[in-house]
């Protein structure tokens, strides 16, 4: 049994009306515990809908979504499912409930009905994990976008979920903010073994993940390990490769064998080696 399973899932917005939009069509895939997965695709390819299907914010109109073997369609399971799969959304401003940072991070554990002392411990732990502990008594609106998004991540972390879904969580941030978030997320995955699902259209971020699922027009177009980035079909889908991959690809084609690299550092190293 996989950790998260999508079995032939379909979902349409405004179903049954003339404005019906089929966002997700017969999608099947599975995610194992501890994986760092990238879900990539163009705008409107159904990525965000998949995120919301993962913890029962949306329910599939056909097919099954299972988390830890629990069906999201069963209302009784929702609380447990949401305890194990948390979502960080795109706009940090729209995820904050409280006017003080630590109160906001406490919102999740408070909903779990924990002891005040344990809530305090979890809040401190979550804020330290994202490096925002010193700001705990400040108001969020003074922070930068990257800092706010780290608070949002802390808010999910405090629930101690097994998996975290980042729904385009870096798309509104500047390059520094993006880097901050990626560092926090990859560290959580490596050190704490947290399952992370990155939903993104930045292929640079996908290059840091172990597994890549490519969505196109509501269906899974490609999926596999990191080497998927070297699949020619990716270019046919009109997705922009990370700079290092596209350079490596062209170098390989022109006879200079640098192999499959995923980061600028690896690329530089491979070029040096082949010279």
């Amino acid at each position: 049994m996989s950790f998260i399973e999508f079995d032939n899932v379909s979902y349409s917005y405004s179903a049954g009306t003339k404005n019906e939009v089929k966002a997700v069509k017969n999608v099947s895939f599975s995610i194992e515990k501890g994986e760092l997965v990238a879900l990539v695709g163009h705008n409107g390819s159904g990525k965000s809908t998949i995120a919301k299907l993962m913890n029962g914010l949306l329910l599939p109109q056909s097919g099954l979504v299972k988390v830890n073997g629990l069906d999201t369609a069963d209302k009784k399971n929702l609380f447990d499912i949401r305890k194990s799969v948390g979502i960080v959304f795109q706009n940090p401003d729209n995820q904050m409930v409280a006017t003080i940072i630590e109160d906001d991070v406490a919102f999740g554990p408070e909903n779990l009905g924990l002891d005040p002392k344990e809530i305090r411990e979890r809040v401190d732990f979550a804020l330290k994990s994202v490096g925002m502990y010193e700001y705990r008594e400040d108001a969020p609106f003074r922070l930068s976008g990257g800092q706010k998004q780290r608070i949002a991540i802390a808010g999910v972390l405090a629930i101690c979920p097994e998996a975290m879904v980042l729904d385009e969580s870096t798309s509104m941030l500047d390059p520094t903010g993006k880097k901050e978030i990626m560092e926090v997320v990859t560290r959580l995955n490596r050190e704490k073994g947290m399952t992370v699902i990155m939903i993104t259209h930045f292929m640079e971020e996908a290059a840091l993940c172990d597994k890549i699922i490519v969505m196109n027009d509501g269906s899974v177009a490609l999926s596999g390990g990191r080497q998927t980035l070297y699949d020619d079909r990716l270019v046919e889908l009109g997705l922009k490769l990370p700079m290092s991959c596209s350079v490596a690809k062209r170098l390989n084609k022109s006879g200079m064998n640098v192999g499959e690299v995923y980061t600028p550092e690896q690329l530089a190293e491979a070029i040096c080696r082949s010279l």
Partner: protein, 300 residues
């Protein structure tokens, strides 16, 4: 614009700031009740002595003002900030005072001017002065509450105080959450309104000329996008809350538990003392007011 501290909270670590918000709210309510108890002049006119009224009400006001002054000093809030809070009602107070002076009946022989319904009398003047002081004090007290208590503490306090209403199925927790989210969103909405305004200005919208109606109409292109985006925001926030296991008040605990401390007891005792002394002057307990008035008469 972006740096607005909503409400008018003045940060400090004074005893007044650290007092339990619930106690402060209760004290503020009692304070308002006290000011309502301060009589108008009519009740005294039957007794005949105008001086009794002046002494009784004057002494009460002095007690209340001293109380406010002491709280202000202890809380380290600049007194000017407290005084400024009356700015918003100053027009109302002047208007009320003028009306009271012009149209107060006045039964005694201290009538200075009389024509038609206009009737300026000594009683009218005294009454309107008392009314003005009363209204000013009525604004200053609660503004001390908001100056020394953060909006979050206030909503938490209100939630805690209204808890008994849960028995009659009032959704107390939900109401408090709505209030705190509203407070949370104010800076975002201001920021957004700013952005939309700039965007409209960039397309040659004119917000600053023409009469009031024209300007109000010019605000429409700001309000409509603002409204739509608030709905979208609310929608996303609802998803985020659901995703963070929110189920309403059911099974929910809090990280910060409000506890009454020794300072709350002192605060209450201090207020109770002031309250009692003020009542003493209002209701003439032990004949204090009468004695004071007699003393004043004998001096004159």
């Amino acid at each position: 614009m972006r740096d607005v501290s909503f409400g008018q909270y003045y940060p400090s670590k004074s005893v007044v700031h650290r007092m339990d918000a619930r106690i402060k709210i209760i004290i503020s309510l009692c304070y308002i009740v006290l000011l309502i108890l301060v009589p108008t002049i009519d009740r005294f006119l039957d007794k005949g002595r105008l001086g009794d009224y002046i002494v009784s009400v004057g002494a009460t006001f002095i007690v209340i003002i001293l109380f406010l002054l002491m709280v202000t000093l202890i809380s380290k809030v600049p007194p000017l900030k407290v005084l400024k809070s009356v700015k918003s009602v100053i027009f109302l107070v002047i208007f009320t005072a003028v009306i009271l002076v012009l149209f107060y009946g006045g039964t005694s022989n201290h009538i200075y001017f009389h024509k038609g319904i206009i009737n300026i009398s000594l009683e009218g003047i005294i009454n309107s002065i008392a009314m003005a002081i009363r209204l000013f004090l009525l604004v200053m007290g609660p503004s001390l509450l908001t100056l020394t208590t953060t909006p979050v503490e206030l909503t938490d306090g209100i939630e805690s105080l209204l808890k008994p209403l849960k028995l009659i199925k009032v959704p107390v927790h939900e109401i408090a959450l709505i209030m705190s989210i509203a407070l949370r969103l104010i800076p975002n909405l201001i920021e957004e309104a700013d952005k939309i305004r700039s965007a409209q200005k960039a397309r040659c919208a004119d917000f600053d000329s023409g009469n009031i109606f024209k300007r109000a109409k010019a605000m429409l292109p700001i309000l409509v996008p603002l409204l739509i985006s608030s709905f979208r925001r609310a929608d996303e926030l609802a998803y985020a809350m659901d995703s963070r296991c929110y189920r309403g008040a059911k099974g929910r605990t809090r990280m910060k538990i409000m506890r009454l401390g020794i300072r709350d007891l002192f605060g209450m005792l201090f207020f109770a003392a002031m309250f009692f002394v003020a009542l003493m002057f209002i209701y003439d307990f032990f004949g204090v007011s009468t004695a004071l008035a007699n003393l004043a008469y004998s001096l004159i």
